[in-house]
């Protein structure tokens, strides 16, 4: 299964360690500058970590603020599912997709601690396995709600006075273990159909949810063999859930301090080329120790070397995050092909 011609995907984290970056008046300008740097290097997407435990601004808000000041790079905030409302969460992610014209994703996270539970006061923190089970249900209902408007639901038919064709709007009637949602969404179907779902599958508790629901799974490994094994496990899981493993990208999260990294940006390019060429992963998610410094060095020193080898795009070929990732735009699960009209 070696596929050395498989496209290489590169992503980077903007707020490593959730909000260690100063949450204040400079956040917008600083994040826009970083995003433009990544965009100049034609990276697939940027993640922005978040947790209720803070400190930091709401990640989805920060990336919405960045959206109009960038054109191509994907924007993937962390969004938690434990103490939030699934209906609000999916509406916010869909809206990020609208304001970025098809560049949104979300990295699903859970709130495992008692301290987080006490901030919200809605219920105690459930055990890890239940947290991820629920996160999976939130991913599932989000897809249903994004699909609850078929793409051509808006008709503006002056003759009959109808703005929408209501046969193309669907109640989702979702019944989960801890919540239920009637639907449809209040937001029309976003540009990508379904914004990109990212799951950090580092923890075993999150792995089945990643295999079931993620478009992009993030893993950590200390050797190419370990990475390849994890990727294979995730793809097997995806197949077991009835999915096409070809629609799952597995990216290795790599914490890098390019000041201390032996051999610097060039050596990092070697590692990326080697692991990717060997089929261990579909790409890399760079977690910089110091975003300003490390992203700059990555863009200036690592990316050009990967391009020299013909491994990484020199410019964006599409406009949406799904385009960058080579993922198909899904048809609404409620679409009745051929029927209606």
């Amino acid at each position: 299964m070696t596929t050395s011609t498989r496209p290489l995907h590169l992503a980077a984290e903007l707020a490593p360690g959730s909000g260690r970056a100063d949450p204040g008046p400079h956040t917008a300008a600083r994040t826009v500058a970083l995003a433009r740097l990544a965009e100049a290097a034609a990276l697939d997407f940027l993640t922005h970590d978040d947790s209720f435990a803070g400190p930091g601004l709401d990640a989805l808000a920060v990336l919405a603020r960045v959206a109009p000041e960038t054109r191509s790079v994907g924007l993937v905030p962390t969004v938690t599912t434990t103490h939030t409302e699934p209906f609000h969460v999916q509406a916010a992610v869909a809206t990020l997709d609208w304001v970025s014209r098809g560049r949104a994703g979300w990295r699903i996270a859970v709130s495992p601690t008692g301290a987080e539970a006490r901030l919200l006061g809605r219920r105690p923190a459930p055990p890890a396995a239940e947290l991820w089970q629920e996160a999976g249900e939130v991913a599932e209902v989000s897809r249903k709600l994004w699909d609850s408007w078929e793409d051509d639901a808006e008709i503006r038919d002056v003759a009959t006075g109808r703005f929408v064709d209501r046969r193309k709007l669907h109640h989702v009637d979702f019944q989960g273990a801890t919540f239920s949602v009637k639907g449809p969404s209040i937001v029309p179907r976003p540009p990508q159909g379904n914004p990109v779902t990212v799951v950090d599958a580092t923890r075993p508790a999150a792995r089945d949810t990643a295999a079931h629901h993620a478009d992009v799974a993030l893993i950590r490994a200390t050797s190419a063999e370990e990475a390849a094994a994890l990727r294979a496990e995730l793809r097997r899981g995806a197949r077991a859930h009835g999915r096409d493993p070809g629609q799952l990208r597995v990216l290795l999260s790599l914490t890098v301090d390019l000041d201390a990294y032996e051999g610097g940006p060039g050596a990092l390019a070697e590692l990326i080329a080697g692991w990717h060429g060997g089929g261990a992963v579909d790409g890399f998610h760079l977690v910089p120790a110091v975003p300003e410094r490390d992203l700059e060095r990555f863009a200036a020193g690592t990316v050009p070397r990967l391009r020299d080898r013909g491994l990484f795009r020199t410019a964006y070929e599409g406009t949406t995050l799904r385009d960058h990732l080579g993922l198909a735009r899904p048809l609404s699960q409620y679409a009745t092909t051929g029927a209606g009209a």
Binding site: P55, H83, V181, P188
Partner: protein, 438 residues
Amino acid sequence: MSTATGRKQIHLAAHFPGVNSTTVWADPRSGSQIDFSSFEHLARTAERGLFDFFFLAEGLRLREHAGRIHDLDVVGRPESITVLNALAAVTDRLGLAATVNATFNEPYELARRLSSLDHLSAGRAAWNVVTSSDAFTGENFRRGGYLDRADRYTRAAEFLGTVRELWDSWTPDGEPGPFAHSGPQFRIEGEFPVPRSPQGQPVVIQAGDSAEGREFAASAADVIFTRHSTLEAGREFYADVKGRLARYGRAPGDLKIMPGVTYVLGDTDADAQERAAEIRRQQVSPQNAILALEQVWGRDLSGYDPDGPLPDVDPDPDSTLVQGRVRVADPVAVARRWRALSEEKGLSIRQTVIESGSRQSFVGSPATVAAALEEFVAADAADGFILVPRLTPGGLDAFVDRVVPLLQERGVFRTEYAGTTLRSHLGLPEPVWKGGTP
């Protein structure tokens, strides 16, 4: 607030055209209700006109009629706070107001989101606190479909108080501190993750009309968004609400009253009147006329001819036909009025709905409208207006190009932004920091 000219200053806000029959989607100039470019165009236009703020409404369940999704008006809209964060990138001074429900949210999360917006916009965030609590909407949420109507403001008041405690948990000097709130609605504790935002306290708007709603606004809001858009009703409402302020140690200027108003401009008054009549016909399509009738009668009247006479049957007072919108308060009385009107003037169903429906608030040449707006504010019927255009995205252009300059000439509207924050535009006092003792 008044200037050296002694004239009371007008505050202006722009409402994004809503999911109701005011918005004329069938007009060929009507653009997307969802593309970011429409929001950008309207917000930039409002900022060009030096408006105080840009306003987004919210509805957490698509409206239904007779068990089916209502399809005659605009349906669907983006989530407000996310759009406003994006608009913060393409505007500089304009206030950014999001309507967010106090029943189906939690204080910690919302305080964090609003504080984030205030940081990312450098002090331009506002929250319109609404309290819809019906079971129909509740079906989309974890907490489910309930909150006794009587409790909607109990929760909203404690919600807002708690949010403000969180915002005040950082000192004005930037020191974080713990918070702990324990009340009937919320028991929460920890540390708020966001430093005090540029406005200290984002601006709070209230939209609700009951006695409880007014009292809540008098005790805690900076702005009221009201439906009282006629001179007489406006003055009565204004006096009532301002009269409630002293009880809370607040001055009349601490709470701005801004009715939502529509407008039709023309080169002459006659021209504007003609256009206004045409717009009413566009807003009340034959299908919308039957729908308006059903909303009053609470019955399926789809068999009736919009160009024929009104039904003989009486309204069903216990009807659940209409879901997700405010119900007609006294349907029997409304039906009686409509019948009388129809008989007196010989009007069909559609003509009756057009005739009895709300007219555009301000109709006339730019000079006439500017004069009327000034008179309205000078007469203490309002402190300003939330303008509701009927067209997306160009519906505000003519107002900004033709009416704003006249208001400026009259000395009743700013000629430049004096400050950078929404609080400064509204002339609201600096919030007093109440933190320090959890």
